[in-house]
C-alpha cells in the first residue's frame, strides 16, 4: 500500500517536472501558433481544419507554409511535396535521438515520434544527454508543448478577424528567440561552435540562392560531415 503511494507520487512529480521543462517552449509556441492561426484564418481555412492541422501535423514551418500555399490556391500535390521537403530535417533529428530510446517499446516510440519538433528535439537531446529521464516526464514535455501549440492556433484563428499585423508585440521574434535559447546550450565543445557557424553560413547562402526549402537539411548534413572530419583531424594531429 505504502509502496503504491510512492510510485504514484513519483509519477505525479515526473509529470510536473516535465510540464515545467516544457514551459519555455510554451512561451514560444503560443505566439507562433497564434501567428499560424491568424494566417490560417486569413487564407480561408476553417476553424476545424486550422485546429485539425495543429493536432495532426504539429509542425510550425510546415503549417505556416501550408496555410500560405492554401491561401495562394496551390495544388494539393505542391502542398504535400513542399511539406515533405520542409520536414526532411526531422529524419536527422529522429536518428540523433534514436540511441537514447534503447529499450523503449515500439508503440512508445511511435507516440514519441509523433510529437518530435525542432523545439522538442532540442530539449530532449539536452535532457537525455547525460541521464535517462523517466518516460512519463518525457511524454509530459511533449503533450504540454503540443497543447500550447493547439491553444495558440485556436486563439490566433479566433482573433484573426480583428488583427491585421502581429508585429507590434514582437510575436514574430518568438521563433528566432526560441532557436537561440535552444542552440546555445548545445554548443558544449569549440568544434560544435565552429560547425554551427559553418552551418549557419551555408544555410543563409543556400537560402539566398533560392534553395529555400532544402537549405536546412543540406547545411546540417554538410556541416556535420565537416565536423567529423575536423574532429578526426584534431585527434590524429594531437596523438
Amino acid at each position: 500500500m505504502n509502496q503504491q503511494k510512492t510510485t504514484r507520487q513519483k509519477k505525479k512529480s515526473g509529470i510536473w517536472y516535465g510540464i515545467r521543462q516544457a514551459l519555455p517552449i510554451v512561451l514560444g509556441y503560443i505566439p507562433v501558433g497564434f501567428a499560424y492561426g491568424v494566417l490560417a484564418q486569413k487564407s480561408g481555412l476553417g476553424l476545424f481544419n486550422t485546429i485539425a492541422m495543429s493536432v495532426i501535423v504539429f509542425a510550425g514551418s510546415a503549417q505556416l507554409i501550408g496555410a500560405g500555399l492554401f491561401g495562394a490556391a496551390a495544388s494539393p500535390f505542391t502542398l504535400i511535396f513542399t511539406t515533405f521537403v520542409v520536414n526532411l530535417r526531422h529524419l536527422l533529428m529522429s536518428a540523433a535521438l534514436a540511441p537514447k530510446l534503447k529499450g523503449w517499446r515500439k508503440w512508445q516510440i511511435a507516440l514519441f515520434g509523433y510529437e518530435l519538433t525542432d523545439e522538442t528535439f532540442a530539449l530532449h537531446s539536452m535532457r537525455m544527454a547525460k541521464r535517462r529521464p523517466p518516460k512519463i516526464e518525457t511524454f509530459a514535455v511533449n503533450i504540454t508543448a503540443q497543447s500550447s501549440w493547439v491553444i495558440g492556433s485556436m486563439i490566433g484563428f479566433l482573433a484573426g478577424g480583428q488583427i491585421a499585423d502581429v508585429r507590434p508585440v514582437g510575436l514574430d521574434f518568438a521563433l528566432p528567440a526560441m532557436f537561440i535559447a535552444l542552440l546555445v546550450p548545445q554548443v558544449v565543445k569549440p568544434v560544435y561552435l565552429m560547425m554551427a557557424v559553418l552551418s549557419a553560413g551555408l544555410s543563409v547562402a543556400l537560402y539566398v540562392l533560392g534553395f529555400n526549402q532544402s537549405h536546412v537539411i543540406i547545411a546540417t548534413m554538410a556541416a556535420s560531415t565537416v565536423g567529423v572530419g575536423v574532429e578526426q583531424w584534431m585527434k590524429n594531429s594531437s596523438s
Binding site: 495532426i56 526531422h90 518568438a174 548545445q186 567529423v228
Partner: protein, 95 residues
C-alpha cells in the same frame, strides 16, 4: 500533410533505436543538434524576403545579440525567449 510529417519523424528512431550505431555515425549525429538549429536560425536573422540584409536597421539581427548574451550568461531558456520578444517589442515601440 500528416503522413509526410510523421514518417520522417518516426522511421529513423523506429528502425535505429535498438541497433548499435557505428562510432562514425554516432559522432556525425552528435553534431546534428548544433548544426540543425544554427541552420534553422540564421536565415531568419540575416535575410528578408529572400535577400541578405546586413544593414544596421536589421532589428532581428540587433535583437539577437542581447538574446544570445542572455542565453549564454544566464542559461535560462525561459528568460532568453522572453528577453528576445521583449526587446523587439520595445524597439518597435520606441523607434
Amino acid at each position: 500533410m500528416g503522413a509526410v510529417t510523421y514518417l520522417p519523424r518516426l522511421l529513423p528512431m523506429f528502425l535505429l533505436s535498438d541497433r548499435r550505431l557505428s562510432p562514425w555515425i554516432a559522432q556525425w549525429l552528435s553534431f546534428v543538434p548544433a548544426t540543425v538549429l544554427a541552420a534553422l536560425l540564421a536565415p531568419g536573422l540575416l535575410c528578408r524576403e529572400g535577400e541578405l540584409t546586413l544593414e544596421m536597421d536589421n532589428l532581428f539581427l540587433l535583437s539577437a545579440i542581447p538574446t544570445f548574451l542572455v542565453a549564454w550568461r544566464f542559461k535560462s531558456f525561459f528568460g532568453t525567449v522572453a528577453t528576445g520578444m521583449g526587446i523587439v517589442a520595445l524597439a518597435r515601440y520606441f523607434f
